[in-house]
């Protein structure tokens, strides 16, 4: 069985309920209530988007979003943003340890939040020498797109553990 790869410009989508969308092909074929998902949620944010139906069955995969109409692309990315919630940390307000559990109080692009990390080594990962992904004690995720763009104090707190 071969996967059904298509290009971004072959479809038109209408977002229905935040993370669900209807898809119409230019050939006239129609799908309803599909859920787009990233196949590479960590490394490829706007390529290889798979579309699942209500039973979780894959219908097709969009290779790249680049050749989608800008408006369409925006719609789809908005849809994905709803699903993938990875707040970007913009500042580490404070960090304290109590009995081996670290409490991070952070400022993110979605507001301030406090979360727990049990183990820094296991919960933080650095990519391309600047991007840091964090998973907290509840398996929520956070991202620091570029650690060197944070303020000096945050850097000083975070970098020794990387």
């Amino acid at each position: 069985m071969s996967r059904n790869f298509i290009d971004g410009n072959e479809i038109r989508i209408t977002v229905k309920d935040k993370i669900f969308c209807d898809v119409e092909f230019f050939t006239g074929e129609k799908f309803e209530n599909l859920e787009p998902r990233r196949l590479f949620p960590v490394s490829g944010l706007s390529e290889y988007i798979t579309f699942l139906d209500e039973n979780g069955e894959e219908q097709f995969i969009v290779r790249k979003l680049d050749n989608m109409e800008p408006l369409q692309k925006e719609l789809l990315l908005g849809c994905l943003e709803e699903y993938y919630r990875i707040p970007k940390i913009t500042r580490l307000i404070s960090r304290s340890e109590k009995h081996k559990i670290w409490l991070w109080n952070v400022e993110t692009d979605r507001g301030n939040y406090t979360f727990e990390i049990i183990n820094h080594i296991q919960s933080m990962k650095m990519f391309y020498d600047k991007r840091i992904l964090i998973k907290d004690g509840n398996d929520n995720r956070y991202e620091i797109p570029n650690i060197y763009e944070l303020d000096k104090r945050s850097q000083k707190l975070i970098l020794p553990d990387m």
Binding site: I19, H99, R141
Partner: protein, 753 residues
């Protein structure tokens, strides 16, 4: 009204409470409530749901009036939709529209699951009291944190193992030193002698310069020389003895440390190993212990010795000339301040180095055992490259440390030298100006003492470097030593021969919050039942067994064996009563005999032969040149999959367990071997409660009960006949498989014609 002691996960904001109070103005009381942590637009914010026995009220900014109320009778379906890093409590009304009741991160997902479960089950006709009890359990689990340290407890009443077993770094380290205290103190005693001896020569110098040489006293010279020789001999002989004893004691410390970490690692829960790389465990046992031991010796030996030396020298210097002594102490505060600064600078660097060391060990632990794969894909070069990359990374980091670690001692030494230059200058002037106050001999020996004095100062200045390094390692070693072991609350409570009645009651489980793996599992297996567990791959079959084996114990709900909660049974007794043949049979680097006898140490050879026979393994073993003495490689290299499988069955047989579990015991073998293994299993299961996971349904002929698992739910349970009559999933699976068997048979027939 809202009761004061409402079951709620955390206090809601005033705004929400106000709206909720408006809703529950009359007599009606909510049973429980969940406060969420996200707003509808996925920013951090607040929302809440209040649940009574017949309706749910969701409060939040996303609703037109700030809230929405839904009667249970209007809810067709309610569930938690887990997304990525967030989830939504969704309800479908009987009218066909869907509503998002609340959005939240995984931090509150468990409680929202409880809400959805509550409403669904109540709608299905279960009593409110029953379901509310289940909700209470979820909330209690959430709240069962240790009041001291805030860690989650295994059960609300249990003691916090973390706090109980927690020892401060110093007291832990002290425990390892204690057995060798006698030796170490003796060593300190010896080194005080050698230190004292080292202080003699400068004193002798001043005698030479001031008395013997000016007086041309040859007799005294000879005496002095012989005396010096004696002192030197004693110093080095005692030094040799000391380093021998010290090394032996040091080896003892490190051996104890390694043994203890390894022992501790054996009792750590599976959860620890799911998350921790083998490399980092190996690193801790091997290199971190060495760093620690060296540090301990430094602290208990050299530090003491250097301290004595420092005090001794200061006393001698003071007795010689107090002015000069004070002068020579000038750089000391600077040195102390510098070394503190240095410690702060280098500490984080050592943590980074540690992380890189782990990366390297992880690659080793990953690729060396996987060398077959590496070779089969011709990935040697790539593996080498990856390894080199990490080594280079480590090197770059170490270079940073090297810079700091090189500059600092040089700077310190320079400061110290400045100190002695001051002495040269001031002392020289004093000898010239007022020779009666300071003689030449005293100045010369004073200068020697000054340079000796700075050895301890230097040592203490550099101690922060090795302290920081040791700290990084200590943390990691402590990680294991202080980690919570598997909970064994029922230690000592054994219950004779197990009958094998197994009951799962409201069991929920997830490896991590992002995905629920088992959902509200309920079933009862009677003693002697042979139960087939079927379901698509990844549906949670092995996980079910993992829970029964108590590999993971942070599930919700309860599991009973013979009516006793398995958490209350002695762990090692409990596991000894269960024969578990795993999906991936695991052998050790040992002989076949020992591998089988692993389950029953000290087994009689005939018992082992018998077990091998029952497992249909005796045949192939006896044909091996070394038969039962055949040495297997690591993880059982040297045997085929089916052979390993049969050895692991033999292992289970030898144990003579009350409950047998087979996880895909015949997945990796041809149909002939499958038959052999199947025969072995059939011989084994007589009279024992048996759980069999199988993809090939033909292996389940003996089963009198079938559990069908689908996406973490038990969707069918009962006798095969009953399930066939049900025409559900099991029926479908049977149809598909017998169809393909039929096709295969037809094909075979065609080929013969």
């Amino acid at each position: 009204m809202i009761p004061k002691d409402l079951l709620i996960n955390k206090p809601a904001s005033e705004k929400i409470v106000a709206i909720a109070e408006e809703q529950f103005k009359g007599k009606e009381k909510p049973l429980f409530a969940v406060v969420g942590d996200l707003a509808v637009d996925s920013r951090y914010g607040e929302g809440a749901v209040y649940v009574t026995d017949n309706r749910i009220v969701a409060v939040g900014d996303g609703f037109d009036d700030g809230f929405i109320s839904l009667d249970f009778t209007n809810i067709a379906e309610i569930s938690v939709k887990r997304m990525y890093g967030n989830a939504v409590l969704k309800a479908k009304t009987t009218g066909g529209s869907t509503l998002d009741l609340m959005r939240f991160t995984f931090a509150v997902a468990d409680m929202c699951d409880a809400v959805a479960d509550f409403i669904t089950k109540v709608n299905e006709g279960e009593t409110v009291e029953n379901r509310f009890a289940a909700v209470e359990v979820t909330f209690r689990n959430l709240r069962s944190f240790c009041p001291k340290c805030g860690r989650k407890l295994a059960s609300p009443t249990s003691e916090c193992l973390n706090c109980k077993g927690k020892k401060k770094m110093v007291s832990t380290l002290y425990r390892y030193i204690k057995p060798y205290m006698g030796k170490l103190i003796f060593c300190i005693f010896l080194s005080i002698i050698t230190t004292g001896a080292a202080l003699v020569p400068p004193y002798v110098t001043s005698m030479m310069v001031d008395n013997i040489i000016p007086n041309r006293d040859k007799r005294m010279l000879v005496i002095i020389i012989l005396f010096l020789l004696g002192v030197y001999f004693a110093q080095y002989a005692i030094g040799a003895l000391r380093s021998y004893i010290l090394r032996v004691a040091g080896d003892g410390i490190i051996a104890d440390l390694k043994k203890e970490i390894y022992a501790k690692a054996q009792y750590l829960p599976m959860k620890f190993y799911d998350k921790t790389s083998t490399g980092s465990v190996i690193n801790r046992v091997n290199s971190d212990t060495t760093v620690l031991q060296q540090f301990m010796l430094r602290i208990t030996q050299e530090a003491v010795v250097q301290l004595f030396m420092m005090i001794g020298i200061i006393i001698i210097m003071l007795s010689m000339n107090w002015r000069l002594t004070l002068l020579s102490l000038i750089p000391v505060p600077v040195v102390v301040v510098c070394s503190r600064f240095f410690g702060k600078k280098i500490g984080p660097l050592y943590r980074r180095i540690w992380r890189r060391g782990v990366a390297i060990s992880s690659i080793l632990a990953d690729t060396i055992p996987g060398i077959r794969i590496v070779k089969s894909f011709s990935k040697e070069e790539k593996t080498i490259k990856k390894f080199s990359y990490h080594i280079d990374d480590w090197m770059a980091e170490d270079k940073k440390v090297a810079k700091v670690a090189a500059i600092f001692p040089a700077a310190i030494t320079f400061l110290i030298t400045c100190g002695s230059v001051i002495i040269w200058f001031v002392g020289g002037k004093m000898v010239i100006d007022t020779p009666d106050k300071l003689s030449l001999g005293v100045l010369v020996s004073f200068i020697s003492y000054t340079s000796m004095f700075y050895t301890p100062v230097n040592f203490f200045a550099n101690l922060s470097d090795s302290y920081q390094n040791a700290l990084a390692s200590t943390e990691k070693v402590m990680d294991i030593i202080n980690a919570e072991p598997e909970h064994d609350f029922g230690k000592g409570s054994e219950m004779g021969v197990m009958q094998g009645r197994i009951e799962f009651r409201n069991v929920n489980f997830s490896f991590d919050r992002s995905k629920k793996v088992l959902n509200d599992i309920n079933f009862v297996i009677e003693p002697g039942d042979v139960v087939g567990i079927v379901g698509t791959t990844g549906s949670g079959k092995s996980t079910l067994i993992n829970l029964l084996m108590r590999f993971y114990d942070d599930y919700e709900g309860e599991i009973f064996v013979d009516g006793v909660n398995i958490r209350d049974i002695d762990m090692s007794y409990y596991r000894s009563q269960i024969g578990y043949v795993q999906q991936e049979p695991m052998m050790f680097r040992d002989t076949i005999f020992n591998n089988i006898a692993y389950s029953l140490p000290g087994a009689h050879p005939e018992q082992v032969l018998n077990a091998a026979d029952i497992a249909n393994a005796h045949g192939f073993i006896s044909r091996l040149p070394d038969a039962y003495d055949t040495m297997l490689g690591e993880r059982g290299v040297g045997l085929s999959g089916g052979e390993k499988q049969r050895l692991s069955i033999a292992r289970a047989v030898l144990k003579n367990p009350g409950i047998l579990i087979f996880d895909e015991a015949t997945s990796a073998v041809d149909s002939e071997t499958e038959k052999l293994i199947q025969d072995a299993i059939n011989r084994l299961i007589r009279g024992r409660t048996t759980l069999m996971i199988a993809h090939r349904l033909s292996t389940l002929r003996k089963a009198n009960k079938i559990i069908v698992v689908d996406k973490g739910n038990i969707i069918e349970f009962g006798s095969p006949e009953k399930l066939m009559a049900l025409k559900g999933k099991y029926y479908k699976l049977i149809q598909i498989q017998s169809m393909s068997e039929q096709v295969a048979a037809e094909k075979a027939a065609e080929n013969f014609e």
